[in-house]
């Protein structure tokens, strides 16, 4: 077993498109009239992963576990508290705004609520073309051509370039958000719950579009979502987060077939499956709620809800280790080698 950042290959070959090491983002909590710092929200508390070219990494977990913060921090839309962010092997952690500019072109974001992220006073065409203007790319005529092309590519009629955000449906707004993200021909797109607010028939349209674009343009995605079925569908590999930490990460099939973390096991069994007879499967129902990231439980963050917790879990933080080839997990059950099926230890 090795204790390193997951998916680090033997050091040879080109650097991955994106690598994040021990990333932390803590938000200070202020109190009183002098705004004294009275605590921290440990929103992201040491996550590591890499994303290769053309690859999709899914980031899944329940609300408040730090998915959006992780996405925003790795794009440096939020200043990291600790850790390292590397793009094509270059450390961008401490770059200033001007130095970040070329990297901004490479990395774009798509949001859950396109409406909130689209300027209501700009036409759809202006919104999509704005990144080109900001980065001073191309002549106005070329920009217009590019925007027209982008509209067609995401399945919007070109006449709609003159319309304003409020005139669009939720699905169409998401298409505008995607077109805008594509304007600068990025290599990586962080999609934060891009289909969570959409009805299922529209959700399917957007998921298909994202996958087609990836094939065509060789894009890499960090796909953030709380819906495990959607994440499994679109991703190559999946990382499961709980209270600011990645608890398990591996390829999507292994995650489903042999979940090693008790939280992953519970998540999988909680997802309702649209098939008759699915109700009869054996399931793990967790008790209680996710604790607050202001005062995460000591030891394993999950021990307050884990059906298999034992003494060590309450004071010793489990490390993310490679327990099986390409399969990383942080759980004391596997400290002395992988133990399956997951079960309460006899001594506990």
């Amino acid at each position: 077993m090795s204790v390193q950042s997951p998916d680090r290959r033997s050091g040879k070959g080109p650097a991955p498109l994106l690598e994040v090491q021990g990333l932390k983002k803590h938000f200070p909590l202020y109190k009183g009239i002098f705004s004294r710092v009275s605590g921290q929200v440990y929103a992201v508390d040491g996550v590591s992963f890499r994303i290769g070219r053309g690859e999709t990494l899914g980031l899944v977990g329940e609300s408040g576990c730090g998915k959006s913060t992780a996405g925003r921090t790795l794009l440096k839309l939020l200043e990291p508290t600790e850790g390292k962010i590397m793009v094509n092997g270059e450390d961008i952690t401490d770059l200033d705004t001007a130095q970040m500019l070329p990297y901004r072109r490479q990395m774009q974001m798509i949001y859950q609520d396109p409406y909130a992220s689209l300027n209501p006073r700009m036409s759809a065409g202006e919104i999509v073309g704005e990144p080109l203007t900001i980065h001073r790319i191309a002549t106005p005529k070329e920009r217009r051509e590019r925007v027209t092309h982008l509209f067609e590519r995401v399945g919007l009629r070109r006449e709609l370039m003159e319309s304003y955000p409020h005139e669009f449906s939720g699905g169409q707004r998401q298409r505008i958000g995607i077109a805008r993200a594509l304007a600068l021909s990025p290599e990586l797109i962080v999609s934060d719950e891009p289909v969570s607010a959409l009805d299922v028939s529209i959700q399917a349209q957007i998921i298909n579009l994202l996958m087609d674009l990836q094939d065509e343009l060789g894009l890499s995605y960090l796909f953030v979502a709380h819906d495990l079925a959607v994440v499994e569908h679109i991703s190559d590999r999946v990382a499961v987060m709980y209270l600011g930490r990645i608890v398990e990460t591996t390829d999507k099939t292994s995650l489903f077939e042999t979940p090693l973390h008790p939280y992953t096991e519970a998540l999988l069994s909680a997802v309702p499956i649209p098939k008759y007879g699915a109700r009869d499967r054996k399931r793990v129902i967790l008790t209680g709620d996710v604790p607050s990231p202001i005062k995460p439980p000591p030891g394993c963050h999950f021990h307050t809800r884990c059906p298999y917790a034992f003494a060590r879990c309450r004071h010793e933080v489990p490390v993310l280790r490679q327990a099986l080839s390409g399969h990383w997990v942080s759980c004391h059950l596997h400290d002395d080698g992988v133990t399956l099926p997951l079960a309460k230890r006899p001594e506990a």
Partner: protein, 336 residues
């Protein structure tokens, strides 16, 4: 399962009279719930699921809304003929309802214990003391830890899952015959959703309450409903047992919905780049400006001229399996 119908909606039409025209939110919907069963109602947002439910309790905002036609039969009466005070005796007592966001129906300024006991005092004529004790008992039944302490909590002091438990406690406190649950778990995380659905199943087994479970999530329906109603644009387009609906859906819309959601099991074993989800092209039509004929025709891959000319009647193709589609026989594969 007892086969006795407890609540029946007949040809319900609830329309909204707006400046933009008449919105036919519910346009001739019929369904019946039997005692002790869970009836799932599915469909995408805006198809009329909630307005149907609110119509049952006569809670549709009027104006602009009005129930223009139909009947709602419950305990030998048509609820649409009752006076407002007769209706009040039914709401929360015989038929109760829980919503997606409990905060909208909980009073933020009152402890949960007082809210539950007020309902009990109102409907069961118990003393305040007795009602309060019963409120504690109800919190215990919905598995709220330390109910004696939590009974004094205000809604904002509870998590989303706990608040939904409180709503369920309140809704069941008077032993209703029917519980209408409108997207009860949509705002919750999936592990909390599993807890709440588990609780609803447990209470149903114990109390025999009939449940109308409204949701947009076909997975939730498959795992919880005995029978299913599929709605599209203000109408029921298919009705079947869960088994029939998921194993041999007959309406193109139902088939489309089932194809458009990723299935966890399948997704985990296929290379996503090669498996596309089935798209239902286009969007739901405006309820103020519905197309002629079958309202699904503009999005339907099987539509013919007949479909575009006339709305298809609801026909029973197999026992208990009703479909409103001109080509359902062909789509079902004729294997009946």
């Amino acid at each position: 399962m007892p086969d006795e119908t407890i609540l029946e909606i007949e040809n319900l039409k609830t329309h909204f009279f707006t400046t933009g025209g008449v919105v036919r939110a519910v346009d001739g919907v019929s369904y019946a719930v039997r005692s002790g069963e869970t009836l799932g109602v599915v469909g995408e947002s805006g198809c009329g699921k909630s307005v149907t439910a609110l119509s049952i309790l006569r809670l549709v905002a009027s104006p602009p809304g009005r129930i223009v036609e139909g009947a709602i039969r419950f305990a030998g009466a048509n609820l649409l003929d009752l006076t407002e005070s007769e209706m009040e005796a039914i709401r929360g007592n015989e038929i109760s309802m829980i919503f997606q966001e409990p905060m909208t129906s909980l009073n933020p300024l009152m402890t949960v214990g007082r809210q539950i006991s007020e309902a009990i005092v109102l409907h069961q004529g118990l003393s305040r003391r007795e009602a309060f004790d019963q409120a504690v008992e109800m919190l215990r039944r919905v598995h709220i830890p330390e109910p004696e302490r939590r009974v004094h909590a205000y809604p904002h002091q509870l998590s989303g899952g706990m608040r939904q438990r409180v709503m369920i406690a309140m809704a069941l406190s008077c032993g209703p015959k029917v519980l209408i649950a409108d997207e009860p778990t949509t705002a919750l995380d999936v592990t909390i959703q599993a807890q709440i659905l588990d609780l609803m199943r447990e209470l149903q087994e114990r109390l025999g309450t009939a449940i109308i479970l409204i949701t947009h999530d076909l997975g939730v329906v498959a795992e919880n409903a005995d029978r299913v109603i599929v709605m599209y644009a203000g109408r029921k387009v298919e009705e079947a047992s869960s088994k029939d609906l998921f194993e041999s859906p007959g309406h193109p819309y139902t088939m489309g919905l089932l194809g458009s959601i990723p299935n966890l099991e399948v997704a985990a074993h296929t290379n996503s780049r090669r498996v596309r989800l089935t798209e239902i092209k286009g969007m739901v039509p405006s309820l103020a400006d519905l197309p002629y004929g079958c309202t699904f025709a503009p999005r339907c891959g099987f539509a013919t001229d007949k479909c575009r000319a006339d709305y298809p009647p609801l026909v029973q193709h197999r026992p208990g399996h009703w479909i409103s589609c001109w080509h359902a026989d062909r789509l079902l594969g004729g294997s009946s």
